[in-house]
């Protein structure tokens, strides 16, 4: 990088630290840090190790500015958030028509782990429920399990700009106790919706859920989608531009488990959550939000994460269908030309 490039990049990171938007996020963090409702997921022991006070908020803009507050370096497992992105990779591997005939895109009011398929087509309801995610995972190409996993990890690296590891204890626990997912896979095999390499596919499914990320990674994932599939910092393409709309629209309708309708109405940002405590939310053409707080509500969504997204949507008018003048102008708050409340 040239001398000027380094100055610009350092100046940009310092401007982000000093910007009114980060000050706003700091206040949000402070506002919800004391919110101790909900519970840490404990269906496997490794998840129960998460500290309830962990709380990170990160926003990455389409221009690649990064605003972060709190525990943005703390790693946790991505869990269901991976489903949206693996769906994108399956689309790249096979095209829309083929993927659509294996998995529907219809929201379901049922829980994420329900054993339920569309009765006429035998397809799982959508790629965000476990059955649908296993079916899309089945579609990931590669000559063996190792190569398929490598392709998934490389895809996440294109989105986040850094290499990711698998949390092996989480993977082993999920694999050892995943009877329900195994049963669902055989049911789908019975209907010819997945291939016979069930053990390999389930391993890949459990592995992709056990990928370690932090709040900044989640913001990069959604900022990349917001930026048409190109990582706004590294400028690398992570997803074919034709399939950005597929991934983002399914996030909007199905991303928040069986609270997706309420979320679309109240927050109006396509988003995906995971029981590790993460939420990644897309504001198309503007920014990506990543939040991390392991305290979950009954539906499996991070309580503080929901609050943060709700406040951001309301204060900056980020709801997809918002037509009213927002309380704060986002661009002014990013650039620092807006009023900051010293």
């Amino acid at each position: 990088m040239s001398e000027m490039g380094d100055l610009q990049s350092l100046a940009s990171s310092i401007r982000a630290v000093a910007s009114p938007l980060r000050n706003y996020l700091t206040d949000l963090h402070h506002k919800y840090q004391g919110l101790n409702e909900g519970a840490v997921a404990d269906y496997i022991p490794e998840l129960a190790l998460a500290q309830p006070e962990w709380f990170g908020i990160c926003v990455v803009t389409q221009e690649g500015q990064v605003f972060e507050v709190g525990n943005c370096d703390q790693l946790f497992t991505i869990q269901s958030i991976s489903k949206a992105f693996v769906f994108g990779l399956a689309l790249e591997d096979h095209g829309r028509d083929y993927v659509n005939c294996k998995v529907s895109v219809e929201p379901t009011g049922d829980a994420f782990n329900s054993i339920i398929l569309d009765e006429t087509t035998n397809r799982p309801y959508n790629p965000m429920v476990n059955a649908g995610a296993i079916a899309t995972t089945d579609l990931i190409q590669g000559k063996n399990g190792t190569e398929r996993l490598k392709r998934v990890l490389e895809m996440f690296q294109r989105y986040t700009g850094r290499a990711h590891d698998i949390n092996v204890p989480v993977f082993m626990s999920e694999k050892a106790t995943g009877y329900r997912n195994r049963a669902m896979s055989y049911l789908m095999l019975n209907f010819g919706m997945v291939s016979e390499k069930i053990d390999e596919t389930l391993d890949l499914y459990f592995q992709q859920c056990s990928i370690m990320v932090n709040a900044r990674d989640l913001a990069m994932l959604s900022a990349t989608l917001a930026n048409g599939g190109i990582n706004p910092v590294t400028k690398e393409r992570a997803l074919d531009e034709r399939y950005v709309q597929d991934v983002v629209s399914v996030m909007l309708t199905c991303g928040m488990y069986d609270a997706s309708g309420e979320w679309a109405y109240r927050v109006g940002m396509p988003a995906k959550s995971g029981v590790g405590g993460g939420i990644t939310a897309v504001v198309p053409g503007q920014l990506g939000i990543g939040t991390f707080s392991p305290l979950l509500d009954a539906k499996g969504n991070s309580i503080r994460g929901i609050k943060v997204c709700e406040d951001l949507a309301t204060d900056f008018g980020l709801h997809l269908f918002n037509a009213a003048t927002p309380k704060h102008n986002l661009q002014e708050w990013i650039s620092g030309s807006g009023d900051d409340d010293w």
Binding site: L7, A11, I14, R15, V17, A18, R22, N23, W342
Partner: protein, 252 residues
């Protein structure tokens, strides 16, 4: 609205801490609540001017940056030392002068975000009207931050070729950081020089305003940091100049 004023110079020895102490005192003497933060963590010194002895310092900026204490508790009220009374207040956040503490900061660094959050918390908690940031000379992450968050940046230079070049670099950086307002102050000027001509020349060179030209006064040197000059000699020409600059900040 509270104002944050960063005082910086590219090179050391420009009289930055003395300048900050005098300017902050002048503003506080006019009845304002003023905070001064010594962010010169590698070589702190401004506490000396306010008569704060190491044994009197409790918590410092270092302790805040290590997460050991809220920033509000690092405040030392030095109003009485400089004769600030009534509504005015002069509150100092010192840096630690213990060699171990300095080494710890140099070795492990700190999160520059904390500095920003601390400044804001401080202004809120103590309802400050003005926050002065005394910086470490040269360019570093923390000086970048101080420049980026300040409402007014005051760059101090001496009439010296090394200072001239370094100031040009600093001005480039400040513009890159979208600094809101920048003022230059020329310090330690020999009385034989034509002050007005010097001011004009510097303004032409950098296309920035020179807010004050401060002569090298023997009395300032004699005081040798045993106090804040303008509190001890309020009628001196130099003190008057600080008064004028304080007035510019308050009105500007």
């Amino acid at each position: 609205m509270p104002k944050v004023i960063a005082i910086h110079s590219y090179r050391g020895g420009t009289g930055k801490s003395n300048f900050t102490a005098n300017l902050a005192t002048s503003v506080a003497l006019q009845g304002h609540r003023v905070g001064v933060v010594d962010t010169d963590l590698p070589s702190p010194g401004i506490h000396i001017l306010f008569g704060l002895e190491p044994e009197q310092t409790r918590q410092t900026l270092n302790h805040y940056l290590w997460g050991e204490t809220p920033i509000e508790e690092t405040i030392h009220d030095v109003s009485a030392q400089v004769g600030v009374e009534g509504a005015g207040k002069l509150l100092l956040v010192p840096s630690s002068v213990k060699a171990d503490d300095i080494a710890r900061i140099l070795k492990h660094g700190y999160d520059v975000k904390l500095m920003n959050d601390g400044f804001r918390a401080l202004v809120k908690a103590h309802q400050l009207d003005y926050l002065f940031i005394d910086t470490h000379p040269g360019l570093s992450k923390e000086t970048f931050l101080s420049i980026a968050i300040s409402h007014i940046l005051i760059l101090i230079l001496r009439p010296d070729k090394q200072d001239y070049q370094g100031t040009a670099v600093t001005i480039d950086v400040a513009r890159q950081l979208n600094v809101r307002k920048m003022l230059l102050a020329i310090n330690k000027v020999y009385s034989s020089l034509n002050l007005e001509a010097l001011k004009q020349k510097v303004e032409e060179t950098y296309s920035e305003t020179v807010a004050g030209v401060f002569p090298l006064a023997e009395e300032v040197v004699q005081l040798a940091s045993e106090g804040v000059f303008c509190a001890k000699y309020p009628d001196h020409e130099v003190s008057q100049k600080f008064c004028n600059l304080a007035q510019q900040l308050i009105e500007g």
